[in-house]
């Protein structure tokens, strides 16, 4: 049977906040939840400049948590979550979608956890990447938060995955 053609993607544009950020949705767990982690990062363009009109969505398949955060003028986004359980043979991770003006289709990446070196080394997707790419997908522990910067272009471009 022939498949229906999929509806093509278009950019989220500069004004997505009126439709998609009407209420805060960046807390995947309530504040004060045991094991709660603050994940922060910056979305950066090919010149290393902040993307102030981007949007990040995170999805934790294993514990069915989802959230999204617009980016501020300094490119910053922020989530409150807990580390999701790992699927067998994989390291725990967040699936991360990036949306922005100038980005005609959202891009998928992954955030892994810095305190899981063994699981990360055994993760089939992460371990198959070159060392620099691998390092860029592991958040950094920083003053009580986990930092995960996303670079759209350049030598240190974040790895994006086909969906």
């Amino acid at each position: 049977m022939s498949l229906l053609p999929r509806t093509p993607s278009q950019t989220v544009g500069p004004y997505y906040a009126i439709g998609l950020c009407r209420r805060p949705e960046n807390e995947l767990v309530p504040p004060g939840e045991a094991g709660a982690i603050r994940v922060v990062g910056r979305l950066l363009d090919g010149d290393g400049q902040p993307i102030g009109d981007g949007m990040i969505e995170v999805w934790q398949a294993s514990d069915r948590r989802w959230g999204r955060s617009g980016t501020e003028a300094d490119g910053q986004f922020s989530f409150l979550t807990v580390k999701p359980p790992a699927s067998p043979g994989e390291a725990p991770r967040l699936d991360v979608y990036v949306f922005a003006r100038g980005l005609l289709k959202h891009q998928l990446t992954r955030m892994y956890f810095p305190d899981e070196p063994e699981a990360n080394a055994a993760d089939p997707v992460l371990s198959a990447l070159p060392a620099l790419d691998r390092a860029a997908l592991v958040a950094e522990q920083e003053d009580g938060v986990m930092r995960f910067d996303i670079r759209m272009q350049g030598d240190r471009q974040t790895v994006f995955f086909a969906v």
Binding site: R6, Q10, V12, I18, L20, V125, F160, F161, V163
Partner: protein, 241 residues
């Protein structure tokens, strides 16, 4: 109007349904479109069996963008409806559909939009709904206006409504724009034309639909949305009806 040939590239059916993410005529892609090829993942699709993606925040009246204020917004009243389907043609029920748009003068209620057209105190321009068991969604709104933007000299966006759709799996995520039939601005717009295959591009254009108009009250447009598959080897395949 700038020479369209520098902004809009010729059709190229080899792109199929994919948008060209480094489309040169859309200036903002230059520092934002990833340059490296995408990495392929092993097949791993999760279909949650309940609300996850903010579906629980939808109020019944959120589908009507014309009744969010004391008075009615100015503009042509329209009903926009259609179905959310997967590639196999199966309806996706409970899909969260979120929309946002400019008012009838082409102005967004957003601090960054300073184009000298009036705001409408009776129009915020955002709505949401969930699809029913047959995958149907429906919004009441007003027809958005075209508006100028800074991409190139005398650049205008054709009228459009932004759509954000969640299917049953994260891999079915879609953000796109719905256009109106016969818009004379199509041929000048790099965002619309970044879908290089004309057949795929046509999927972004709604159809005027007399059958769903409401006589003496509202025009109507139909637009179906097709997402990827939600199923994987690990979820049972639903029996054919």
């Amino acid at each position: 109007m700038s020479d369209a040939s520098t902004i809009v590239l010729p059709d190229d059916p080899s792109f199929g349904g994919e948008v060209q993410i480094d489309y040169p005529g859309y200036r903002s892609t230059r520092l934002r479109a990833p340059e490296r090829p995408l990495v392929t993942l092993p097949e791993d699709r999760h279909s949650p069996d309940g609300p996850v993606f903010g579906e629980d925040t939808v109020l019944p009246q959120d589908f009507d963008l014309t009744s969010q204020h004391e008075g009615e917004p100015l503009g042509e009243r329209i009903i926009v409806s259609g179905r959310v389907l997967d590639e196999d043609g199966k309806p996706i029920r409970g899909a969260l559909v979120e929309v946002w748009q400019a008012n009838s003068a082409g102005r967004y209620k957003h601090q960054v939009d300073q184009h000298p057209a009036p705001l409408d105190p009776n129009f915020s321009g955002a709505g949401r709904c969930l699809t029913d068991d047959d995958g149907n969604y429906r919004f009441i709104s007003i027809k958005p206006g075209a508006y100028p933007w800074g991409n190139h000299e005398n650049a205008w966006r054709p009228a459009h409504i932004h759509f954000s759709v969640f299917g049953r799996a994260f891999t079915q995520r879609l953000v796109t724009q719905m256009y109106f039939p016969g818009d004379p601005l199509f041929r000048y717009d790099p965002i619309f034309n970044s879908v290089r295959d004309p057949k795929a591009r046509a999927l972004l254009v709604s159809q005027f639909d007399l059958a769903t108009t409401i006589p003496d009250w509202s025009l109507a447009f139909r637009w179906d949305i097709v997402l990827g598959r939600s199923g994987s080897g690990t979820t049972p395949i639903e029996e054919e009806a």
